[in-house]
Amino acid sequence: MISGNLKQLTEYLGKSADLLSKHQLQLDSVLQTLDLQQHSLGILAILLVKFNSVAVTSDAFEPLFVQFHEFILGCNGEQIRFAADSFAELCHLCTEALTERRKPAMGIPAMKEALIKLQSKESQLTSIHSDLLRLCLLARNSTAPLHLLEIDIDDINRENGQMDPKYVLLYYYYGGMIYATRKNWENALFMLSMCITTPAMAVSHIMLEAYKKHMLISLIHMKKIVPLPKYTSGVVNRFFKHLALPYHDLATAFSHNDSIEFEQVMARHSDAFVRDQNMGLVKQCLSSLHRKNIQRLTMTFMTLSLEDMANRVKLSGPQEAERYVLEMIEDGDIYATIHPDDGMVEFQTNPENYESMSVLEQLKAAMEASMHLENKVQKMSDELSVNPDVKCDMADSELKRALTSFDDDFGNHRETSKNRVSTSSAGKGTVRVPRQAQRKAICSLVEDLRKSREKEEKKKKLAHKRLKALDRGIRVLKPDFVAKVISTEPPTKQPSIKPKERGTSTFTDEDFEKFEEEYFVPGKF
């Protein structure tokens, strides 16, 4: 009965875990008789039992890990997708074990392969993604998961309904941390904001930690707190301010542009920052504050002495001021010329005329990225419009509200969006999609949904009208005409006379009007 039906086999194996664990000693000999490609589900069930029973610290773990790695490399992806939850659980158990054994680097290639096996497409998020990022962070390897983080996620693998939202949050949180270690602040902010804005009904510790890091990184990168979008869950705004009070104090001190006050707040809450392992980021915020204060001077002065600059920014002396100015010129934060003979700094405006080939290249890349995104959203919209599981129950007013909310939200983030086109930290010229294009794409998706809903309603009304007409006039109609009329009706509402050719009706609206005039003039019957 079971042979050939993988779904039933998965269910059966799920119920057999106790039986397998009772016969642990025979499991290895059973494994030898099974083929990786043909019996992937069976091997998965056995490995799961073994991982649950073997002590992580024991010597038996090493051979078990070898078996796990061989299974991941050789298993049949089609089969294991039937037991996606068990497969993911196996990967979680292995990640835990490797973490406990302090050998995270060992698991990176296996996890990379595992998530490819589980995915139905490249842009699908699985719970194994978070395992891989965790192992990479623990192994201090920030280059291994980079290609994975560059892929825009547009789908989540449900893993037989067992996908825990925790793994989605962890993916974005760890992703933010990896980008932060590479000082790719822009992408780090994006990942962390994705984590914070995930719809939530209760406070999540992962979101809280992401919120703290998001605050610090926005101070470093944007030199101010980036407001969260309007679609952020209510719990974030309601509770996080109280739960992250030291960070809010720090942000307030930062906004006063006073480095002494900032240092005082740093000292006052140093315990909390050390406990959260955020002290490194906090120190970088102080450097960012000095840079911000120098940047502010460029708006007031045309020329300024290095000594005066050091006094105003509260630096130790002209040497430190010169060092900061040099760093900022190198990073392109300010445009200035130092005159060492008289110790003056001359501030200038941006010399870029936006007429070079490199600007054209950037523009071209940004447009291509926007077009790609628009096409992707259009494709998703098309898929949704033919998906019977998706019901468009949103009222018009709700749609309008959603659209207005997007407008307001992206209006608030205009300053952020200006800087969305940039190169990646590796300097390979990766172009991020501008927020404006994202907004346009989302609005177009909502608009498409609204239109398809209107079209659907119109069709329903017409069908209903036709049905009523048929009820009344069926006695006097020729059978082939009836068949022609009802062929557009939904199957549940069909009268007893079946159409000859469903879905190929040539009965137009004009025909129907003629038909109504001819047969349903009051008093005709």
């Binding site: 680097a105 990176i108 290639p109 192994a139 201090r140 390897n141 920030s142 280059t143 291994a144 270690t181 590479r182 000082k183 060092r323 100015v325 040099l326 760093e327 010129i329 190198e330 200035a336 010329t337 130092i338 005159h339 060492p340 003979d341 001359e346 070079s356 080939m357 490199s358 054209l360 290249e361 071209k364 447009m367 077009m371 628009e374 930290s425 590796a426």
Partner: protein, 195 residues
């Protein structure tokens, strides 16, 4: 093939070997040297953090390489030059790195790091200073005053009283012009999309 693309290819190769089978001690040194050449300082730092303790022997070669990395990260250039000078690069690594062609004609790995660093510093001096003393420039570039004078005359920078040099902005090499046909093709695809 430029030296940079060759270095990137080698970095990728070593990174994938590290993921699959792990690296030998010598390969760690090579990877760190390549990160320094390409100025991938964050990656160099992470490599230091994840390298096994056996490689991180005190006063060892790997430690000296990391000192260079730290000095460049802190933008302490005199310290960086001193650290580079203090590194006696093992001959096998130097020989290995000779395969990476160098536009300056130098073969030793230490010169790759030094030349790349000097190039960046020189570009910054040209960008940031209206005038600079030769002594300061000498510290900044890690060169003797005579060599600095030679570099300045090669760049046609004028010298003034009191050993002052007046840098001129270094023009960045223009990007390769986009061919007309390619541009028209791209514009037509954009217009098609908008319609």
């Amino acid at each position: 093939m430029t030296s940079s693309s060759e270095s990137h290819a080698r970095i990728q190769e070593l990174e994938s070997i590290e993921l699959q089978d792990g690296l030998y001690d010598e390969q760690y040194l090579r990877l760190m040297a390549l990160y320094l050449i390409e100025n991938q300082l964050c990656d160099a730092r992470m490599l230091w953090l994840r390298a096994p303790d056996e490689v991180k022997v005190a006063e060892g070669f790997f430690q000296k390489q990391f000192n260079v990395c730290q000095a460049i990260m802190a933008r302490n250039y005199p310290e960086a030059y001193a650290s580079i000078a203090g590194v006696n690069w093992p001959s096998e690594i130097a020989l290995d790195m000779q395969a990476v062609s160098c536009e300056y004609g130098e073969t030793m790995i230490v010169e790759f790091v030094k030349v790349n660093l000097k190039k960046r510093r020189l570009a910054l001096i040209a960008k940031a200073y209206a005038s600079i003393a030769i002594s300061d420039m000498s510290i900044s570039l890690g060169l003797s005053p005579e060599s600095v004078r030679e570099v300045c005359s090669n760049l046609k920078w004028t010298t003034g009283p009191g050993d002052l040099v007046y840098p001129k902005k270094i023009k960045e090499p223009p990007c390769a012009a986009i061919r007309g046909n390619t541009l028209v093709d791209h514009l037509s695809s954009v217009i098609q999309f908008l319609e």
